[in-house]
């Protein structure tokens, strides 16, 4: 599926636009950036509550496809600005990390 498909899911709101044609092949959940750095899955949708600029750095390095901020977390201003500059897609949702990941997983299957 693509980022556009996530955009079409009812519980997810696009906060920073990325390349909507980018492919998503998996879902990954983690809040510790060191762990995400070593375990992040290429082309995954990354569900986290870490709405800071360092999350973007880890996403770039691991080549995951987008960030989904769960639990009602919003990106801070620096993250938002940098994500827009770099064309990294950031979604927000009020769902829990688990429920958000489950929705993506279901959409993938």
């Amino acid at each position: 599926m693509t980022l556009q498909d996530i955009n079409n899911l009812p519980d997810f709101t696009i906060t920073c636009e990325g390349d909507n044609t980018l492919t998503v092949t998996d879902v990954f959940c983690c809040d510790m950036l060191s762990l995400a750095m070593s375990k992040g899955i290429e082309h995954a949708a990354w569900v986290t509550v870490m709405g800071g600029v360092n999350t973007l750095a880890v996403l770039r390095l691991t080549e995951m496809s987008c960030i989904i901020l769960a639990e009602g977390v919003k990106p801070d201003d620096v993250m938002k600005q940098k994500a827009l500059e770099e064309g990294i897609a950031v979604f927000t949702t009020d769902l829990s990390v688990f429920r958000a990941a489950l929705k993506i997983h279901e959409a993938l299957s």
């Binding site: 510790m32 950036l33 060191s34 070593s38 800071g52 360092n54 973007l56 750095a57 880890v58 390095l61």
Partner: protein
């Protein structure tokens, strides 16, 4: 003749907004040099952890990278406080990071352990009050035993 590429990155201390930029640039350079994806992944993780350590603990520093046909060599040098107990610092889960740093998603005590795990060779030279130099080598091809 061996081809060799030298790269230098200056890393700002406590500048979390730009933390990771050196590692991203480094990763892009490795791609241009046709390094294999798995080696890029390992070297980038090692570099990122080193970069973050310098931002968190050492007021920044420099990363000097040499890429030749055989190896990627990363030398991270800082003028920070030094590592008080290297043996402890190498233990997974041990961290001296503050609560503020942990709130940013760092300080899991995986920095040095990950650097060792994802490089083929690693040495640490540290002097209290003077700084730390970490040298990591990642082989471009697996060694044949």
């Amino acid at each position: 003749m061996t081809n060799s590429t030298e790269l230098l990155y200056v890393i700002s201390g406590e500048d979390f907004a730009s933390a990771g930029e050196a590692s991203t640039s480094f990763k892009n350079e490795l791609k241009k040099l046709n390094v294999s994806p798995e080696v890029i992944r390992r070297a980038s993780i090692a570099m990122y952890e080193g970069e973050i350590n310098m931002v968190i603990h050492a007021y920044g520093g420099t990363a000097r990278v040499t890429v030749d046909d055989k190896d990627i060599k990363i030398v991270l040098a800082d003028n920070g406080p030094g590592i008080e107990d290297v043996e402890k610092a190498m233990q997974a889960g041990y961290s001296t990071a503050t609560d503020g740093i942990r709130d940013l998603g760092f300080g899991a005590g995986m920095g040095l352990p990950n650097m060792k795990k994802y490089s083929d060779e690693m040495t640490i030279e540290t002097h209290e009050g003077e700084g730390t130099t970490v040298t990591m080598i990642v082989h471009r091809e697996p060694e044949v035993s």
